[in-house]
């Protein structure tokens, strides 16, 4: 894929920026070797409190993530390429995880387009990809608390004030949040890496539950 090198470069910059601004916290994922997921190791950091609204119109905050391995991707439903492709790959990943650890992994899609992505649209979107996935969003100020903590960027590209067919630039990586609600790792999803991500997640869940 033509953007792989750019993705790797961005990943290195992102990891560097995370390391440069974080307070190290002991990570329970640091002893696991991964193939695709870049673990932040000793630079794993606790997420701040945040408050979004999920696709069931219920409050969605840190507590929802506790006790599970969470994959979180940021995008928007009017995205024709990257977002649906990534969600399809997330679906393939969770379907490849052994059933005994699947319950320990949750997938979240956070819309950075709250103007158009109302909860009912997010509900239809999640229902299409996987009813077990959760979508959430919030106004931009509330979103910023979470996106800033995860190094996620997004920018609305309106051609005019009334433009409703606008697109949104956004970070393309998937964030891994561990059971202690810590930002533990990240990866760029790719159809060729689905198997390896599933193996990484299985190892993370299994080895941490064995401790």
């Amino acid at each position: 894929m033509r953007i792989v090198l750019a993705q790797i470069f961005s990943l290195l910059i992102l990891v560097y920026s995370v390391i440069g601004h974080s307070v190290p916290v002991a990570a329970n994922s640091s002893l696991v070797e991964t193939e695709v997921i870049t673990l932040l190791g000793s630079e794993t950091r606790t997420l701040p409190k945040f408050e979004l609204i999920d696709h069931h119109q219920k409050t969605f905050g840190k507590d929802r993530l506790r006790g599970k391995w969470n994959l979180m991707f940021f995008g928007f439903t009017n995205c024709p390429d990257v977002c649906p492709t990534t969600l399809s790959e997330m679906n393939s990943i969770v379907n490849q995880i052994p059933a005994r650890v699947r319950d320990e992994v949750k997938v979240y899609f956070v819309s950075v387009d709250p103007e158009r992505d109302k909860p009912e649209l997010l509900a239809a979107y999640m229902s299409y990809f996987n009813p077990d996935f959760t979508a959430a969003t919030a106004d931009l100020d509330k979103l910023k608390i979470l996106t800033s903590a995860l190094g996620v960027s997004h920018k609305t590209r309106k051609k005019s004030e009334g433009d409703l067919a606008y697109t949104v630039d956004h970070s393309g990586y998937v964030v891994l949040i561990d059971p202690n609600v810590q930002y533990a790792g990240l990866f760029f999803s790719d159809r060729d890496s689905v198997d390896a991500v599933a193996r990484d997640l299985s190892n993370l869940v299994t080895q941490n539950s064995d401790e």
Binding site: N78, C79, D81, S88, D190
Partner: protein, 136 residues
């Protein structure tokens, strides 16, 4: 009789531009009816000796069809329109998820398994028709 000869000639010796552009694996990623956009992907090969230039794509089922490329811009995924689609002799251009794709606005909902006709207009004025399969 003349018509039959003409049709036979067309089958045996089609217009060079139409014969040179070979489309394979053309498909559309399905999305729920609440989403108005779709992306289409395909492999486009120029098997001829001269460059083939695609001017536009059209379909009754979609409007505002444009070739886009997903590129990394300031650490973000950005969709950039590609305005010149010229395929050199023996060159293959691949439209695939996460890379180049046709960005399309759906005039009506799509469903997996459906076949959608699309017309490609070339710079010499000729047209080429292809069928695309909608996939989940």
């Amino acid at each position: 009789m003349v018509t039959r000869i003409f049709l036979t000639m067309m089958i045996l010796f089609p217009l060079a531009s139409q014969a040179d552009l070979v489309i394979a694996n053309a498909w559309i990623k399905n999305l729920p009816p609440t989403v108005p956009v779709r992306a289409a992907y395909m492999n486009m090969s120029n098997t001829g000796q001269e460059a083939v230039c695609i001017v536009s794509f059209s379909s009754e089922k979609f409007s505002n069809i444009a070739l886009h490329e997903t590129v990394m811009n300031d650490g973000m995924m950005h969709m950039q329109q590609v305005t010149d689609l010229t395929i050199a002799p023996n060159q293959q251009i691949i439209l695939e998820p996460g890379g180049m794709h046709l960005m399309m606005r759906a005039n009506e909902p799509t469903r997996p398994g459906e076949s959608v006709q699309m017309t490609i207009k070339l710079s010499d004025g000729s047209h080429q028709s292809l069928m695309m399969t909608v996939k989940k």
